[in-house]
Subunit: 348 residues, 2 copies
C-alpha cells in the first residue's frame, strides 16, 4: 500500500504540526533553467582579522571578543528582542499588538574560523551541546523568558552573514507559533495515550527502517515521513526528555556524535559545505510541567539537485502550503548511500 | 498609544490567519555582510527563440505554443498535481497520507517576452484579470477541484525559471493549509457580526490612512498592519465579493489599474524589476456557499534594503515564527513617496 501511494501525487500529514504537505514524486525530471547559487569556496583560514566573531577581534558594538578557546556565547549586538522592553498592549478595532521582551545571543561553536560542525571532533561538538544546555537552563530560568529558540543558519544562502561557525539563541516571553502548534499536537497525544508522540513515532520508524539515517545508544537521525525541505532530517532522543537541560553526560556525547555523522552526510551529498537552518524544539520554560514534550532537532536544508540548485518555497508554497518533488524515502536512500567519512577527509 | 508600541520590539496579530508576527523596529541599522543577489539586466527582447513560453516556440513537452496575441493559458508540462490520480488513503500507525487530484496551469500574461505587469498597459492587464477569472470559474466548476490557487512568482530570486511574463494556477481537491486558516478566521467573524472581516478592516484602514498606498473606485492597495515581508502589500476589493468570478466589467478594469500602480511603485522602490510572489486568496470551489470569504490578493516581496539585499526567512522564522525589521508604517511611507510613473518611463 505504501508503494502504491508513494509514486502518485499525495499529501502527507505532519503529526507534530497537524498540517499537510504536498508530495509530487513524478516531477523530479523537471528541467531547471532558473537561478543557480554560487558554489562557495571552502574556508581555510583559522583566523580572519576582519571577522567580528574570531577571538580577540572587535565587534560592531565596540566590544572586544575574549580570547576564547571553546564555544563562547554573548548577547547579540543587533538583538531582535530586548530584555527591558516595557510591557504594553495595543488594540484599536481590528488592529492588535503587544510589546515583547526577550534576550538574543550568539554562540560561537569554535574559535577556529574555518571549522563547521562536520569537521569539528566529537569532543568539540560536545562542548557546543553543553553551551546550548547551559543557555537553555539559564535563559529559561529568567521569569520573563517562556521559550528559548536555539538555531543555526549555515551558509550564505541561509541568510548567514558570517562563515565563522556560530548559531543563535532567541528567547522570549510569548510562545512562538511553531511551538504552539507542536505543543497542541504533543498534548493531545499525551492526554489520550500517556505516552510521548515522538517515542511512539520513533518505535515505528525503527521497525520499518525505511527513513533511518543513523542511530546510536541515545539518539536517532531520520528523514521524517512528512519532510518538507528536500533533505530535511530530524534528530530524536530515544529517552523521552522534554528539553536539552535533561541530557546526562553520556547523552551529550551521543548527541554530538550523531550531529557529526548527520552533518558529514550532508556535506558529502553535494560535496559542498551544506547549507541549512537547524533548530531545537523543546518544552517552553513557562514554569509549567510539559510531560507531553519530546526534545528534538530539525534540519531544513534548501539544496535540491546540486550544490547550486535549491528548492524555492515560493508562490504555491507561500499561498497554499508546502510542496516537495522527491519523497522522504528517496531522500533517505540518497543520504544512506553516503559515507560517514567527510569528503575532505578532515575527519579526526 | 500606536507610536509608543511601534518603536519597541512587539508582536502584531494577523486577523486573517490568527497568527502573530514579531516586529523589531530598532534593528534596521544592522550592517549587512551577508549574501547579495545579482542585479538582473532588464529584458529588452520582445521575442526569445529559446523561450518555451514565447508564441510559436516549442515547449519541453514537444507541444508548440500557438501564435497567441493576448494572455494565454495551458496545462503545465510539469504539473505538480494530476487530474487522473486514483484516490486512496494510507494510514499505518502514525503515518498518514492520501493521494491528491488537481490541475496545474501556466498563464502567459503577454506574448511579449520583455514585458512585466507594471509596463503593460491597463487594457492588457485587464485581459490577464479576465483569464484568471475564466480559469477560476472553469477549474472551480470541476467536481474534483475544491480550491484554485492563482499566483505569480516574479524574478529569479523567487524561483521563477523563465523571465517571460507569466503566472501559474494550481487547483486541487483538498483545501490548502493557508486557506483553511483564513476560512476559519473569516467564518468566525462572519458568524459573530454578519459582516466581512476584510470590509471592516478596510473601513478602519481608510479612516486612518496610515498604510494606504493607492485607491480607486473598486479597489484599495495597502500594507497590512501584520505584514511579514518587508514591503508586503494587499489589494482588497471594496465590494464584499467572495471570488474573482464575481467581478463586473468595471471592476476588472479597476483591478488592472491598481495592479499597474502597485507594481510600478515596486519597480521604482529600488529601480529594478521588483521580485515577488503574488497570490489571490478567495473562496474555495467546494460547492458550499462562502459568504464569509472576501477576495484579496497579496504580494510577498523579498527585497529589504536594495535591489540586491533581501530578507531571509530562515532560522528563527522557520522554527519559531515570522520576524521583520521595519514596521508596516515605515514600508507604507517608503512606497508612498514613490512616483506612479515607471522609472524607465515605459508608461503608456
Ligand atoms: O513551477 P516552476 O515555476 O518551475 O517552479 C517554481 O514555482 C513552484 C510553485 O510555486 C515551486 O514549487 C518551485 O519551487 C518554484 O521554483
Ligand atoms: O541575525 P543574522 O544572522 O544577521 O540574520 C539571519 O538570521 C535571523 C534569524 O533567523 C534572520 O531574522 C535574518 O533574516 C537572517 O539574515
Amino acid at each position: 500500500m505504501i508503494n502504491k501511494i508513494n509514486d502518485k501525487p499525495h499529501r502527507r500529514y505532519n503529526i507534530l504540526t497537524g498540517e499537510w504537505i504536498l508530495v509530487s514524486p513524478h516531477r523530479t525530471k523537471r528541467p531547471w533553467q532558473g537561478k543557480t547559487e554560487d558554489k562557495k569556496a571552502i574556508q581555510t583560514e583559522s583566523f580572519d582579522p576582519s571577522c567580528y566573531l574570531c577571538p580577540g577581534n572587535e565587534r560592531a558594538s565596540g566590544d572586544t571578543n575574549p580570547d576564547y578557546n571553546s564555544p563562547h556565547s554573548f548577547i547579540n549586538d543587533f538583538s531582535s528582542l530586548l530584555p527591558d522592553t516595557q510591557l504594553m498592549g495595543y488594540e484599536e478595532g481590528l488592529l492588535k499588538a503587544e510589546t515583547e521582551k526577550g534576550i538574543c545571543k550568539v554562540v560561537c561553536f569554535s574559535p577556529d574560523h574555518s571549522k563547521t560542525l562536520p569537521v569539528m571532533d566529537v569532543e568539540e561538538i560536545t562542548k557546543v551541546v553543553q553551551i546550548w544546555k547551559k543557555e537553555y537552563l539559564e535563559l529559561g530560568a529568567n521569569k520573563d523568558i517562556n521559550y528559548v529558540q536555539i538555531f543555526e543558519n549555515k551558509g550564505a544562502i541561509m541568510g548567514c552573514s558570517n562563515p565563522h561557525p556560530h548559531g543563535q539563541i532567541w528567547s522570549q516571553s510569548s510562545i512562538p507559533t511553531e511551538i504552539q502548534k507542536k505543543s497542541r499536537q504533543f498534548k493531545q497525544y499525551w492526554d489520550q495515550n500517556k505516552r510521548s508522540l515522538l517515542s511512539d513515532y520513533l518505535t515505528q520508524e525503527l521497525e520499518s527502517e525505511e527513513r533511518i539515517l543513523a542511530t546510536n545508544e541515545h539518539f536517532v537521525a531520520l528523514v521524517p515521513y512528512w519532510a518538507v525541505w528536500p533533505f530535511e532530517t530530524m534528530i530524536i532522543s530515544r529517552r523521552h526528555i522534554q528539553h536539552i537541560g535533561q541530557l546526562n553526560d553520556e547523552e551529550e556525547k551521543s548527541y554530538a556524535a550523531i550531529l557529526k555523522i548527520l552533518t558529514i552526510k550532508y556535506d558529502n551529498l553535494f560535496e559542498t559545505s551544506f547549507p541549512y537552518s537547524a533548530g531545537i524544539h523543546q518544552a517552553p520554560t513557562d514554569n509549567s510541567e510539559h510531560p507531553e514534550w519530546h526534545f528534538h532537532m530539525s534540519f531544513y536544508p534548501p539544496l535540491l539537485r546540486s550544490a547550486t540548485v535549491k528548492k524555492f518555497m515560493v508562490g504555491y508554497e507561500m499561498f497554499a502550503g508546502p510542496q516537495r518533488d522527491i519523497t522522504a524515502e528517496q531522500a533517505a536512500n540518497r543520504l544512506n548511500e553516503l559515507s560517514d567519512q567527510h569528503y575532505l577527509d578532515k575527519m579526526t
